[in-house]
Symmetry: C2
Subunit: 149 residues, 2 copies
């Protein structure tokens, strides 16, 4: 991997040894009050397309806290965490760097609106998930989700 080679050339302390970047993603089921679908965001930066809301876990932050924070930032929703769907860590899942994502199924009882980073937020019925326009491995993740429910 390119990053490892670069790291070797630099005088970097041992505690920044390369480790996959830890991320969280949320499959948010909207009940308002009836089930109306799940939330996807439209990305403004490459890779372009639809994605599950999510982001990086900070050093010193648990994945549960990161999930809550990222869902609020990206969708304005206060979510309830229901279930860990899986950890997705294929080194090629993100074209930018090696990320490992903890994917949680969540619930919320209001409507999403795009957060500070101004991404578009939309509810998709489970029968209308735009699989062809999903970035990263989110198509695989959502197929696993549909198989699980």
């Amino acid at each position: 991997m390119k990053i490892c080679e670069e790291a070797k050339k630099l005088n970097i302390p041992h505690w920044v040894r390369p480790t996959p970047f830890l991320t969280v993603d949320g499959i948010i089921k909207i009940f308002n009050p009836e089930f109306s679908g799940i939330v996807l965001i439209k990305r403004k930066n490459p890779p372009l397309g639809y994605a599950l809301p999510g982001g990086f876990v900070d050093y010193g932050e648990s994945v549960e806290d990161a999930l809550k924070r990222e869902m609020k930032e990206e969708t304005s929703l206060d979510i309830k965490r229901k279930k860990l769907l899986g950890v997705y860590s294929n080194p090629n899942r993100d074209p930018r760097m090696h990320t490992a994502s903890c994917v949680f199924v969540c619930e919320a009882n209001s409507l999403p609106k795009a957060g500070d980073d101004a991404k578009e937020c939309k509810i998709f019925k489970l029968e209308k998930i735009p699989f062809e326009n999903l970035v990263f491995d989110h198509s695989k993740i959502l197929k696993n989700f549909l198989n699980m429910i």
Copy 2:
């Protein structure tokens, strides 16, 4: 966190932004051929005590591959991965640094023996897990495991 403060002082490229260190741990059920318990290792380095076999995920390596590699290195076992028990990421779970561990339930059909790093390997009956001598949050993990089965 101390590491974050130190990182700010150094001229470190953006791609080494602090992220929790990703690890894997395995709860290996031994069937030889009947179920005889799970494997714990006795640590040679601090923190001292018993622990689930496990270790760091390399950059560019999936958690599944890391699990297979670490179980082989520490117990000499070729494991079958059965189930993701959970992701344990409390920033205080490891006294050395912030780690996030993907814990998998696995199976193996032979007897463990300590690997290259010369840790002691032992099979423990589920009724004889040494909860008081477990390091990190492995006591919590194994309690969750016993609640799940």
